[in-house]
Structures are given as structure tokens and as C-alpha cells.
């Protein structure tokens, strides 16, 4: 026992971290390509394709082959696709017409403004609601009373309050987003393990430093869950707003196509909404992943691929 000190059990040759260096020291692009090729090798993309095929196949059969009674007025997939990719669309809207992109642009711009406002107001509000009990006692009851009011119920007031057609729509979109963001942020702060705050206090952090280094990053996973929900509900109320007023936007396209009996254009508008909505929420997710590397790495170890 004199020569080999059994106290020295920490073996420096054993790698302490569970990840291997190959994962840590590669560029994000290589990592992305690697993930993509893994994805291609997994059954997931093929199952996804089968899912789409089944859905479109059912649509095709029920509308164009079997001509089921309920579906008699519906445009079939071939009709929609033909219209969508036509250089000379029957109803005036396809990927080759500039208006198509104008509608997408107008809607996306409204979403961007509303989402931005909802985030810069909602996140700080949520942080303070979770951080200060006194502040919460003042604000939260009012917040909880207004939150269940659906954006559509705000339409008349929005029109009365704001001039023109642009601001009311943005306001309605903002409202839905804002509540989702603020509420999730508050829950995020409340979910933080008190040990982290105590540890920071032990280590000599001031109240502001605790806020900056513990509360904000600790609430981050919830904040981004909130932002994903928020961008989803933003599209919700945007379309509602655009159906009520306005001259452009995908909601407007769907509504006017209905009144003008341009049924294939309705479906083009819906599919486009789906795609653009998916892209915006994927973008939010990407930003979240970028800001929360620690979570990505933790999850990667959990075998969540």
C-alpha cells in the first residue's frame, strides 16, 4: 500500500467525456451532411413518402376516380397540380405568375413583423412574470383574462383601433403569438430547478447576474417551444385576419377564390400556406438549436436520432 497509492484512482487515460472527439471537432456543414446521409439510410424518408403517396392517392381516388358524392365539387390533385404549375393558369394564379409570390411575400412579411413584436414584448414579459412574484400578482390576472379571447373576437376592435387594412391584420397576428410566447416563457422560468439559482447565489452572483446567466438560459428551452407554437398560431390568426380584410396574402387568396368559385386556387393557397408555415417553424427550430447547443449535444447522447 506504500508504493501504489490507492487514493490515486483518477485515471487520466480514460476519456472522461462520453462523446468522441470526431463528433466535437467537425464543422456544422459536415455534421449536417452526415445527419442527412444518416437520415437517407434510415427508413424515415421512405415512410414519409409512403404517407404522402397514401394521402394524395386517397384524394385522387375519391375525387377523380370514384367521384364520391361529398367530393364532387372538390378539385382533384391532377387539376390542382396542373393549375399550380401552369404557365397560363385558368384562374390566374400559379408558380409562374408574379402575384403568387406577392401573396406569399405579403403574408410572410406580416408574420415576420407580428412574430418579431410578439417575441420582443412577450419574452421579456414572460421572464419578468416568472421572475418577480409581485409583478405576476399585478399582471397575470389581466393576462389570463385576455388570453382566452380568440383573435377573431378582436377583429372589430382591431378595425376600430387601427387605420387601413395592414395594421389590424398585424395586430391580430401579434395577439395570438404574444400570448403563446409570454405564457411559455413564464412557465420556462418557473420550471428552473431552484438548485441552479441557489448555486449561483453561493458562487456570489448578484440578482441581475442570476437573471442573465441562470433565468434566461434556463428558460430557453421553454421559450423556443413557445416560439414554435407562437409562429403556428400566428399563421392561424393571420389567415383569419386576411379573410376579413386586405387585398393581398394567402388568406385573402383562399377567401376570394371561394367567392369567385376558383376552387383549384383555394387548394393552391392551402398547400402554399402549409409549406410556408412549415418553413417558418423550421426556421424557428433552427435558431433554437443554434442557441442551445448544449441541449443538442445532450439529446444526441440520449440516442435521439
Amino acid at each position: 500500500m506504500t508504493e501504489v497509492s490507492p487514493v490515486r484512482v483518477t485515471n487520466n487515460n480514460v476519456p472522461l467525456a462520453l462523446t468522441d472527439d470526431t463528433v466535437r471537432n467537425v464543422s456544422p456543414l459536415t455534421l449536417a451532411i452526415h445527419r442527412f446521409s444518416l437520415w437517407l439510410k434510415s427508413p424515415r424518408p421512405y415512410l414519409m413518402l409512403i404517407g404522402f403517396a397514401l394521402f394524395i392517392g386517397f384524394w385522387y381516388l375519391s375525387v377523380e376516380v370514384w367521384k364520391l358524392p361529398r367530393f364532387s365539387e372538390m378539385p382533384g390533385p391532377t387539376e390542382v397540380v396542373r393549375e399550380w404549375f401552369s404557365r397560363d393558369p385558368t384562374y390566374g394564379l400559379s408558380v409562374f405568375t408574379p402575384e403568387y409570390y406577392l401573396h406569399i411575400w405579403v403574408s410572410t412579411r406580416r408574420i415576420a413583423i407580428a412574430f418579431f413584436l410578439a417575441t420582443i414584448i412577450g419574452v421579456p414579459l414572460g421572464l419578468f412574470l416568472g421572475w418577480s412574484i409581485r409583478f405576476k400578482q399585478y399582471v397575470f390576472p389581466v393576462f389570463e383574462l385576455l388570453r382566452p379571447v380568440p383573435p377573431l373576437a378582436w377583429v372589430p376592435l382591431a378595425i376600430v383601433m387601427f387605420k387601413g387594412s395592414e395594421t389590424p391584420i398585424i395586430f391580430l397576428t401579434f395577439l395570438a403569438s404574444f400570448f403563446a410566447t409570454a405564457l411559455n416563457t413564464m412557465l420556462g422560468v418557473e420550471s428552473i430547478d431552484v438548485s441552479y439559482i441557489r448555486a449561483a447565489n453561493c458562487l456570489g452572483a448578484s440578482r441581475w447576474q442570476v437573471f442573465r446567466h441562470v433565468i434566461v438560459p434556463g428558460a430557453m428551452p421553454f421559450i423556443f417551444t413557445g416560439l414554435q407554437i407562437s409562429v403556428g398560431v400566428a399563421w392561424f390568426s393571420l389567415v383569419a385576419g386576411e379573410m376579413v380584410s386586405g387585398q393581398y396574402g394567402l388568406g385573402y387568396v383562399i377567401n376570394t377564390s371561394y367567392t369567385m368559385v376558383r376552387y383549384p386556387t383555394i387548394v393552391i393557397g392551402m398547400i402554399t400556406l402549409g409549406i410556408v408555415g412549415y418553413v417558418t417553424s423550421a426556421a424557428v427550430r433552427l435558431v433554437g438549436d443554434y442557441l442551445m447547443q448544449w441541449r443538442i449535444r445532450e439529446l444526441a447522447l440520449g440516442g435521439d436520432r
Binding site: V7, L16, S195, L203, Q293
Partner: protein, 291 residues
């Protein structure tokens, strides 16, 4: 075998610093949760001493109120009455029932409290940078060398979620030691670890202790762990918590796992097992009554 008689306090190798710091005196402390009459009495007129530069281990059944005591020293909870001194300076007492948390008394938490959103080295440098005691560069230099000393080289830029829980505890202890605390407060830090990892962690903790000679206040419900690590073992009664038996463990330091098979160690175990078991039974039946 009079255990309270002055034990040998000679710790052969490490050159002991002249003035040891971090002694804690707990005097007649009472903690009651809730209203005076209906509340739960967690700590009942508790008095004992944590000698500076030594490891004091508090053993008691789960929920006996030992964590309450630790929280009072750390400054997370207030006392109902009594006082606690750190090196003869009052932390909390009649005029100020709640101590101010600070870097002279750092807690290592039961479930670990490394910030998962900071890399290991960002965690380790957190204290000195927040306090403005060291510049970023100085803090990083010190952290690197302290982590290397503790056998934690190569994980500086990993996140805590990427390393095993045993290694995480060591990082957390290094994070505490970065602040040159007077006393480390360990709240059942190895509870969630499996017994093999635990034995490695015990020896690693002793190694850190021999190097730094920081006073350690360690809470556990594991008697073997207590006798193996402690200079002094305080066995607590079940709620309300009060010292039932205080032993000075005269097994010489530095210790290693061969100690577990010595006769002296067994004697300490035999002497205390009955007392601890008795309290465990009380806690168990009390728990059943409450439900």
C-alpha cells in the same frame, strides 16, 4: 474505546496550513416550518461543532431535517431561533435569522447543479468571474490547472450533459474550490450514484481534501460512507433533528478503501449501526402515521 476522547489529529503527509479556517459552530438551533403551533419542527435545539480543516459527516434518516441545517448554514433558509457561527463570525442569529449566501460556503447539491447551458470550464469559472475577483483569462488559467489537478483534463469544453454523473460531481466540487471557500457543504452528493462509482468518488473526494484542506460538511444517510470519510460523525435523531451521538473517528488519514476491512472500522460500524437503525425505524413508523 472512548470515542469522545481526543483522537489523533495528525494527518501525516499534507503540510497543514497554519491557521485552519471554516469551523462552524451550531448553537441551539431550532427550525420550525409553518405556524408556531401547527408547524413541523424540523430541527430541535441542535448544538454541535464542525472543526476547521476536517470532514464532519452528518448521518440521519431521509427527511430528518439535516438538509434544513445545511440550508441554514448556506443561507437558503432562515432559522426559527439559535445561531450559527463561521470562524466566530455570526452567520445567522437572533438579529438576523437568515444568513446571506456567499462564496465562503459553497453547496454541492444532491442532484448536482452544474449549469447545463454552460460548458464545464464556464461553470468552473462562474464564481470568480461573477464576483469580479479574477479576469476572464486568469479565471480560465486557474480553472484549467485545477481541473487538470482533479483529473478532469480534456472535458473543459464539453457540456455537463455530455459527461458521466460521477465526473459531473467532481467538476462541481472544482467549481466550488475555485472560490477558495472556507467550507464545502455537500448535500448527499453521491446519493444518485451506483455503489461502484460511489467508492471511486469517495477516494477522489479525499484526494481533493488532502490537497486543499478545506473544511467539509457532508450530509448522508449512508453510515459506511460517513465513517469512511469523516473525522467526525454526527448521528442525528429522526425529525425533529438533534445530535444523538457524536463520534470522532480516529482512523488515521490519509484513508483508502482498505480501511473498510480493518477491525477499527468494523468497531465503529458496530457501535453506531444500532443507533442509526433505531432512528430509521422511528422515521419509518412516523412516516406511516403521517399518511
Amino acid at each position: 474505546m472512548s470515542v469522545q476522547s481526543a483522537p489523533t489529529r495528525s494527518h501525516a503527509p499534507a503540510p497543514a496550513p497554519t491557521a485552519r479556517k471554516g469551523g462552524v459552530r451550531i448553537v441551539d438551533v431550532v427550525k420550525r416550518y409553518g405556524a408556531n403551533d401547527v408547524g413541523i419542527l424540523a430541527v430541535d435545539h441542535c448544538t454541535f461543532e464542525v472543526p476547521p480543516g476536517e470532514i464532519t459527516v452528518v448521518v440521519g434518516p431521509s427527511g430528518c431535517g439535516k438538509t434544513t441545517l445545511l440550508n441554514a448554514i448556506a443561507g437558503f433558509h432562515s432559522l426559527s431561533s439559535g445561531s450559527i457561527y463561521l470562524d466566530d463570525e455570526m452567520l445567522c442569529g437572533p438579529r438576523r435569522l437568515k444568513a446571506q449566501p456567499g462564496p465562503d460556503r459553497i453547496v454541492v447539491f444532491q442532484n448536482g447543479a452544474l449549469f447545463p447551458w454552460k460548458t464545464n470550464i464556464e461553470n468552473v469559472t462562474f464564481g470568480p468571474i461573477m464576483q469580479g475577483r479574477l479576469s476572464r483569462a486568469e479565471a480560465y488559467d486557474k480553472a484549467r490547472s485545477m481541473m487538470a489537478d482533479a483529473g478532469l483534463r480534456g472535458i473543459e469544453n464539453n457540456y455537463p450533459g455530455e459527461i458521466s454523473s460521477g465526473v459531473r460531481r467532481r467538476v462541481e466540487i472544482v467549481r466550488a474550490l475555485m472560490n477558495d471557500p472556507k467550507i464545502l457543504l455537500l448535500d448527499e452528493p453521491y446519493r444518485a450514484l451506483d455503489s461502484l462509482t460511489k467508492s471511486v468518488m469517495h477516494e477522489a473526494l479525499l484526494e481533493i481534501f488532502y490537497k486543499n484542506r478545506v473544511t467539509i460538511f457532508f450530509i448522508t444517510h449512508d453510515l459506511e460512507e460517513a465513517i469512511f470519510l469523516g473525522h467526525r460523525v454526527v448521528i442525528m435523531t429522526t425529525r425533529p433533528c438533534r445530535p444523538k451521538k457524536i463520534l470522532d473517528i480516529d482512523i488515521p488519514h490519509p484513508r483508502d478503501y482498505s480501511v473498510l476491512t480493518t477491525r477499527r472500522f468494523r468497531e465503529f460500524m458496530d457501535e453506531t449501526a444500532a443507533a442509526v437503525h433505531e432512528e430509521a425505524i422511528k422515521a419509518f413508523t412516523a412516516g406511516e402515521k403521517e399518511r
